[in-house]
Symmetry: C2
Subunit: 428 residues, 2 copies
């Protein structure tokens, strides 16, 4: 029986790979245009790197094992701890540091729409700035990437602040706001009854639970968020300051994109290390999982590398992005206009064909040389199915006259040209 | 104590990553110009995919483990079996199929110069052609990649044929040539005495062992290889045919590159699935491990997917390639000529700076906006250390007159320009 690949893993064939490559090129060139530099991180790390930093839920989803030396290691479940380790190992770098990376990430979860066990994740971070301009730049980069992928109008940014949530929850009598975060994180994935039951299990009384539910339901334009909250509970000065900060960030983000930005108090993010701003991007129709997510994590460098370095960043997986692009009609191939398939009447002309191919290829023109296993009519069939735009036919006559028979595989017409007259060929 | 990364794994910082990216772009664009299409394969596969296909040595070097379902899996120790699995799953594809991929590969070996536990491997294969033109195209692609990376003259191709070796060894009385292959594979890594002892342990008598050593020492221009062999032993007709095939391949390869190609009878390759041509590229000074290696494997598709599909391909790791490029002086950064760092006299001008940045970035120009955490002289210091070519200084005067203060960070001179006069900026 043929061997199958593992569940939740992908074989990616050329049809999709070509589009993926173009998408990733756009992602990378956009990050570079913002002054972000690319790094690469190991795919295997000590399991300790995630213990007590990323949260219990994540640890339970790792592909972890003991290596041949007996050490507990894991496939990368997320990029941020490795990136922070790299940062703290280089004290010479002038800050702020802007980095991005595109690692593969593994989670042992049940595969479903938008979620696989292996995916590629784009990560971008700014280290060494506490300003709201840094937060806005991170969200602005995320939006600019989506916009350049043709997704403008297809998504919205939902933002919140964990310190704001601490203040609000404390203010209504919740002693351990962080325990309530994981319930709020699942607010849109469960029924109201389930949500209230979870809060009850955490020791909240009915009245407080019902206020928490109103809070988690709050979604508003950043300039209206304060009014919305005022109607639910009184707001402390510190909470007001955090709301003003969110407003300042969203004002700056409007310089990067015309996409919609809202304050959504159900956004708290699963990872335990976030310390301020948190945000996610969602498809505007609300049908998919989050497209990307991130926030501010000012304490992680002190845990991993014993240094105080403020940080803000986001991660975006390729699985939901592909789904969204397919729905938006932007996941489409581009046919290469300059591509040749060289056929030879007999194998002794292969030398001649290879010399011509080398000329074309050195100019970046895709050129396939038939390997001489079949007759000319089958070569021309192969030329068509290869997706090439033109076939070049070489026989003894062509070699002796220096003229080539050129067949346009899209239009079907056939002409005779010199090498310098080949479409797309620029002789120096 | 700060957490360290695992032995044999790399943190790759922007200085190197920028060069790597350019190198990988060259590798990919060269493969595409030959008509090869990119695919991607899983990083984790069932361990069974490698059992009895790749050879015992490789199995002992895998990062293998049981996943949470108890299944024996492994990080990818090589790409070929996964690629063949993908191929046999798609019977609709017209052949020959030309594919490449760039996966990460893991081997639990002792790290040393040119060898790490994680590396990126470029793989290219042609499926569905038995012709020597296909073999030549694979070697030709390998050489063209090295040539485009500026390595012409720095390497040579050493080729051999496993069927030729079967014939030669049978002819001198060796019953199980394949057992002798693993000794020959290590010929240049051990002393003559160690080599002879290994052959003795395999049951070869002294005279036969000494002939095997002369065979393994044979390295010749393809057109002289027959004469060389004639001096060591008589050659069967089948061996002559295999030698003629190598000569035909090397003749075709000369159409792709002017690099040196030799027949080297010590090249047999470690993996057990090769069925004909085998080849490796070595630095001309012989100081490094093989740069790349490959060959023909016509039986693997029948083992993995129960189909008869002839195949030829090669793999090239990034570790030795980087070493070779560093020695050849071609592992060098390219300073971006078009890059700006925008400084603002006060933070209220950030909006204005971001609007300008969006314009520049949308034209692919790298533009960093200072995040407003420091005064103007510190912003200019940061601009210099960021590697940007120009600083743009924005104050109230600039905003009211529409003129920008532009400082050339390389030459040091300062001018006043309109936005449309910025170097590299093409207004539409």
């Amino acid at each position: 029986m043929p061997l199958e690949r593992l569940r939740g893993f992908r074989d990616i064939y050329p049809e999709d790979m070509e589009i993926r490559d173009r998408v990733l090129d756009t992602v990378k060139s956009t990050a570079r245009s913002f002054g972000f530099s690319e790094i690469d991180i190991p795919s295997v790390e000590p399991l300790d790197l995630y213990r007590a930093k990323s949260g219990e839920e994540l640890l339970g989803q790792t592909f972890n094992f003991r290596d041949r030396s007996g050490r507990e290691v894991t496939l990368l479940p997320e990029a941020t701890p490795s990136v922070v380790r790299m940062l703290t190992a280089r004290k010479d770098l002038p800050k702020p540091v802007r980095w991005f990376c595109l690692p593969k990430i593994w989670r042992y979860e049940e595969p479903q729409s938008g979620r696989l066990r292996e995916h590629v994740q784009f990560n971008a971070d700014i280290f060494g700035s506490e300003s709201e301009a840094a937060d806005a730049e991170i969200i602005g980069l995320a939006c600019t990437i989506l916009d350049r992928l043709g997704l403008q109008g297809h998504y919205e940014i939902r933002m919140n602040d964990r310190l704001l949530m601490d203040e609000i929850l404390n203010n209504i009598g919740v002693d351990s706001p962080r325990e309530v975060f994981s319930a709020i994180d699942r607010f849109h994935k469960v029924t109201e009854a389930e949500f209230l039951k979870t809060l009850g299990d955490l020791g909240l009384d009915e009245k407080t639970s019902s206020v928490v539910m109103r809070i988690a339901s709050t979604k508003a334009d950043p300039k209206d968020a304060m009014d919305h909250l005022n109607r639910i509970s009184t707001i402390s000065d510190e909470a007001k300051n955090r709301l003003k900060r969110l407003l300042a960030i969203s004002d700056l983000v409007s310089k990067y994109t015309s996409s919609r930005v809202v304050v959504d108090l159900s956004i708290v993010r699963g990872l335990s290390y976030y310390t301020g701003l948190v945000f996610e991007a969602f498809d505007i129709r609300g049908e998919l999982r989050a497209i990307l997510g991130g926030g501010r994590y000012d304490s992680l460098a002190s845990v991993i590398g014993e240094q105080q370095i403020p940080a803000v960043g986001f991660g975006m997986g390729d699985v939901v992005l592909e789904l969204l692009m397919k729905r938006a009609g932007t996941w489409v191939p581009v046919r290469s206009e300059k591509s040749y398939y060289i056929c030879t009447i007999d194998r002794s002309l292969l030398d001649w064909a290879l010399t011509l191919a080398a000329h074309l290829r050195s100019r970046g023109i895709k050129t396939i040389v038939d390997l001489g296993d079949r007759n000319i009519s089958n070569q021309l069939k192969m030329a068509s199915s290869s997706g090439s735009r033109y076939a070049i036919i070489i026989g003894q006559k062509e070699v002796s006259t220096g003229k080539l028979t050129l067949k346009d595989l899209v239009k079907g017409d056939q002409t005779t040209v010199t090498r310098d007259q080949l479409p797309g060929y620029n002789p120096e």
